[in-house]
């Protein structure tokens, strides 16, 4: 990087506060836009009503004459009553979050997750029996009335949510199958990964259930969202995607792997698992859930949302995403690195590309030889090509994993195959 650029960046070193503020305001802006839309829709409601009557009568006539064909099948998976009660219950959060539209989106996300768990459990062959539903309902009711204090806090919640006790009881009954489904999925993942906790099993269930639901019930989702004027995107675009951690795989046991940030290959060779856990307090066990083939020594980026630490300080986490940053290669000489010469026209583009990436400082050493190497402004960049994207390591001791989009962009500039699956 040139001295002027370096100096300008150093001049404005802390951008995080501004970045978070802008992120928040973009969110608020999109909510405002939705509110405007809502008002517009309300204003046009008379016209819509007339249109609806017309369309309904046309539809009924078509039904009678058998001329109508539903091009995209939908089911009755969504229930307006359950959604509305879920939305009412979000009013509890009104004091902490602004915007009715945001609360409505939050309600949808909660409802969608529960539906996803239910449909995913069914898809795995689990049967939700009436007696299980009844038992779950009873357990929830007992929890709500277990003490005067508990009852009082529920009464406060229902007052804020404009719900009667009877309405809430019906809601508990209607949603009890979802709770049964969650329990079955927790048991399902506990059976696969016996070392995790029930909470982590529940988190893994969500990770698998949500994409399944969005794929299988796409038409229902679109129809429901349109009906309730919800945004059509899949969840909040600025939603939390998990905490990132970089570290080496230091142990693999059964179908779990242990990642210790900061651990070196020498540590792995010289210390026992217990010693590594003692030395690296941030080490975490993860389930091998949709992971690439891993070996001890591999450098990985993990993304997790939920973790539990036992009394003996062993931390176990869920796993929402994983990127292989560097595959450990005990015999690095077996591979040759291709030295790339960047085309003169492409050179400025590559310069801009590498100059504006958010590089991550790391003191880890990459164990195997890179697939490619190129030089820009005296800085050497080593490039590893993996099925989920490129990994770059600069001679300034910084690295970056590239997503599919950036991998394709850089591959184009360098004139190499992106190697994506």
């Amino acid at each position: 990087m040139n001295e002027i650029k370096k100096s300008l960046i150093e001049l404005t070193v802390d951008m995080n506060e501004s970045k978070q503020l802008v992120r928040k305001r973009i969110m608020a802006q999109s909510i405002k836009k939705k509110d405007f839309k809502k008002n517009l829709i309300a204003g046009l409601s008379a016209i819509v009503m007339i249109s609806m009557i017309f369309l309904t009568s046309t539809f009924l006539m078509e039904q009678q004459t058998g001329t109508s064909e539903i091009s995209q099948p939908t089911t009755n998976i969504f229930d307006d009553g359950i959604f509305e009660t879920t939305a009412n219950l979000q009013k509890w959060w009104r004091d902490f979050a602004d915007g009715e539209a945001y609360l409505k989106e939050l309600a949808y996300e909660k409802y969608e997750t529960r539906l996803a768990l239910y449909t995913y459990a069914k898809s795995l062959g689990y049967d939700i029996k009436d007696e299980e539903v009844q038992e779950s309902f009873q357990q929830t009711m007992n929890l709500m009335t277990r003490s005067d204090e508990a009852k009082q806090s529920y009464e406060e919640l229902l007052t804020k949510a404009d719900l009667t006790w009877e309405e809430y009881e019906k809601f508990i009954m209607d949603t009890a199958p979802y709770d049964v489904a969650l329990k079955k999925l927790e048991q399902h993942y506990m059976a696969i990964y016996p070392k995790i906790s029930y909470s982590i099993a529940g988190s893994l269930a969500e990770k698998h259930a949500i994409p399944y639901f969005r794929e299988q019930y796409v038409n229902d989702i679109i129809a429901f969202k349109k009906k309730h004027t919800l945004p059509l995107h899949d969840g909040n675009p600025f939603a939390f995607t998990g905490s990132k951690q970089l570290g080496r795989v230091v142990a693999i046991e059964d179908n779990m792997f242990l990642v210790a940030p900061g651990a070196t290959i020498e540590d792995i060779e010289n210390y026992t698992k217990e010693e590594l856990l003692e030395n690296y307090k941030d080490a975490m066990w993860f389930p091998m859930d949709d992971t690439p083939e891993l070996s001890i020594g591999d450098l990985v980026e993990t993304y997790h949302k939920y973790q539990t630490t036992s009394e003996d300080n062993v931390t176990i986490s869920d796993l929402w995403d994983i990127r292989l940053v560097n595959e450990y290669e005990p015999n690095p000489i077996s591979k040759a690195t291709h030295h790339l010469t960047i085309d003169i026209e492409m050179n400025p583009k590559v310069k801009v590309f590498v100059g504006t990436l958010n590089w991550i400082d790391t003191n880890v050493e990459f164990s195997d030889k890179a697939d490619y190497q190129f030089v820009v402004d005296g800085i050497t960049y080593q490039l590893w090509s993996y099925p989920d994207g490129f990994v770059l390591y600069s001679s300034r001791g910084k690295y970056r994993t590239l997503n599919a989009e950036l991998t394709s962009e850089l591959a184009g500039y360098l004139g190499i195959d992106h190697g994506l699956n």
Binding site: P237, P348, F353
Partner: protein
Amino acid sequence: MDKEIEYIFEEHSEHLLRLAYFYTKDRHSSEDIVQDVFIRFMNTDYEERGSIRAFLSKMTINKAKDYLKSWTYKKIQLKEKWSYLVAKKRPNRLLVNDERSIIGKAVLELSLDYREVIILYYYQEMSVAEISAMLLIPENTVKTRLKRAREKLKPLLQEDVWEVLINE
């Protein structure tokens, strides 16, 4: 698409905030500009023909220049010029006080014509041809402005810093 927007925001927002700041020299306007750029970007059917970074940078630069021409900016300038409170103006926390940033501070002292080419050439790492195409001015004008901008930086910098700069 949603994940992509989040990714694009993560990837480029800091760069764009800095870019806007180098034009406006005001943290709050930079935040407004970048916010506006992303909202417009989210509502645009963007088809990737080049780098997203270049596309967003161009939007940011245009927006920053619009701001500098705007009545709001002129009003702020006037107010600051006449206000007795200028000296007590709240510190712009975006700036750091470090000798490493001495060149950057000198760049921000330049007038817009000179500052702009320096920013585009050094920070944005655009070629003279690219700057010429973007600003719709001849390449020779870009070169002259760059030369003069460097000359203007000279008295603002110490000899050793200047030596580093001319060797860039």
